[in-house]
Amino acid sequence: MIGADILIKSLLKEKVEVMFGFPGGVTIPFHDRLKNYPQLKHILPRHEQGGAMAADAYFRSTSKVGVCLSTSGPGATNLVSGIANAYMDSVGMVAITCQVATPVIGTDAFQEVDITGITQPITKHNYFVEKVEDLPRIIKEAFYIASTGRPGPVHVDIPVDVLKASVRKFVYPKKINLPGYKIPQKAPEKNLREAINLINKSLRPIALVGHGVILSKASQELEKFIKKADIPVISTLLGMGAVKHNNPLCFGMLGMHGMAYANYAVHNADLIIGIGLRFDDRITGKLDGFAKDAHVIHLDIDAAEIGKNALVNVALLGDCKKVLTQLNNKLKKQEHRDWLKQIKLWQNETKLSKITNKKEHLTAQEVIREISRIAKKDCLITSDVGQNQMWTAQAFNYQYPGQLLSSGGLGCMGYSLPASVGAQMGNSRKQVWALMGDGGFQMNMQELGTIMANKLPIKIILFNNGYLGMVRQWQEIFYKKNYSATKLINPDFSKIAKAYNIESYQIKNKQQMKKYLHQANKTKKAIFLEVFIGPEDNVLPMVPPSASLDKTITKLNNE
């Protein structure tokens, strides 16, 4: 047995079924041993970044830690965007990089890079494995840290001589010894009482929910909570699906491109109950204008997030599911009918159908609404970044927690295609629809190769407007339409998909849309649909930068 066997056996002890790995000079001892462990499925992406993003989406769609592996030097640096993405969105990932041999570390050896130095600020924790005896403990700790508390990426760097070192026996530790790692569970009684008190007194409460509710699997407890106390619920991008979209208390997404009525509701609330979110600047708008007249209760598992952006009156440090259960036990039944009536009024005035001007050409929103209508109810949606991302968040009817896989905190273009690979690998029975723009597609389009090679029946929807849409929108609104560096001269994308043996169609009007979306819905193979949309279509509503939520724009001058 050698270190490489120890690594694989440790991964199997952690119940890893799928990993995304890309070989190189110093990974060969590991890749050589794989054939002895057919129960560990190794997927080869076409770029390490694709592998990292696939591992990310694997976690988001299965709740099992996503595993990616690369070689030293350039292979490792190619993982960085994927790791940073996982860090920003609290994704449980173990990223393994193989490293040059210990005697030459620090000598600028071939393909050597100080990768643990590079990933330190973008990981929950990282390890350098000095000797093979440490490897089982490190793998066990890595998975534990990645998947508990606030999930996050853990990076393990293994020198090639450690992978080759011979080992007599494989011993996997039974216990974890991390005295400095504490995981909050339940909130203290005093804080719970204060929170309940504020809830009982409030006339215009809002439950603001984020990724934490989904990570904690707390949807049921949340639904009970809002139903009992009659509290409207509004979510962040990553909180979509925490509550079913058609729940009468659900008022969609807030923020820079959230619904105007959601923003007004939050702006006029007298109590914000933040559950599993970090009050990120995309949803608060100008901080000193955020919920000025409201008390704030913040329920989160990360103490460092409480009070970081929004001023908090009552902190509930703990796990969403556990603390919501505690609150539900103390909560008294109440009603806020007048407040709900007001929000519904705002909703009627500013819902999407009211503020969207009918366009002669096909729009992305229409396509996404049609997908929402016909797709299997438990399908998974990956989005890229920019306009396509915002339209996907706005126009789809989310029914399940974690149904939307999107790069929120980092906003990393190129996410959608590799993420669809990870989502499909983790959910072979579910439909995976990968939505993206022409900019983001090209950032990781090499992953069409992974889709082809593994026969993944992913439904790829490319919105082609010939621009880096979101930047072009800002240039239109704030920079007098100076479209500098945003126009894309594109190839024939359909031909590229066909080169990868993926059947491909172009959609230019409503009839084609209905026909090919229907076909995509039925097919058991990968399919690529290129949808041509208006080059100057804009995302509305919009909260301009440095404006507070009440300044949500629902109309642009030239529309």
Partner: protein, 159 residues
């Protein structure tokens, strides 16, 4: 909010790179530190790190919470100077006996002064005291009397 002097006491597992992690965190969150000291405690596997910073209370609470997230960190707490005992070691080379006597004879400031060595007409002294007490004592000297001055930074202990 007002800025004031805070002392943050951190205990961490004695592992290579922990100090680097803590300081990296301060750097990227734009905290400037007055001083940093690190050394072992009564348990040789556990290190004590003392950070002195000049910040407002909210920012101090934030960095305490962030440092606590580091896996090797066992505890982090912030204090006002009056709530801990903190001392600093200064080594100073003075030009002449007159300057030495100013320090040795001072009764106003709570510092411990000891002459370590005499080289030609220059004197190397050791001063131990709490940071601001030392500042006050040094202000008794004229700049031209000080040839060289190095400070260790504060180390603090709390019951």
């Amino acid at each position: 909010m007002n800025k004031e002097k805070f002392i943050i006491l951190i205990t961490a597992v004695n592992k290579a790179g922990v100090l680097n992690k803590i300081l990296s965190l301060c750097r990227r969150r734009r905290y400037s530190l007055v001083s940093v000291t690190a050394g072992s405690t009564e348990n040789k596997n556990i290190y004590n790190i003392t950070l002195v910073l000049f910040e407002n209370k909210n920012r101090v609470n934030q960095i305490v919470n962030q440092i606590n997230k580091i896996i090797e960190v066992l505890s982090t707490e912030s204090f006002l100077p009056k709530d801990v005992v903190d001392k600093e070691l200064i080594l100073i080379i003075l030009k002449n006996k007159k300057a030495v006597d100013i320090l040795l004879k001072n009764k106003e400031h709570d510092i411990n002064v000891r002459v370590l060595k005499k080289l030609d007409n220059n004197f190397i002294l050791e001063i131990i005291g709490e940071g601001t007490e030392v500042d006050h004592a040094l202000s008794l000297l004229s700049k031209k009397d000080i040839i060289k001055l190095v400070r260790s930074g504060s180390v603090a202990i709390k019951l």
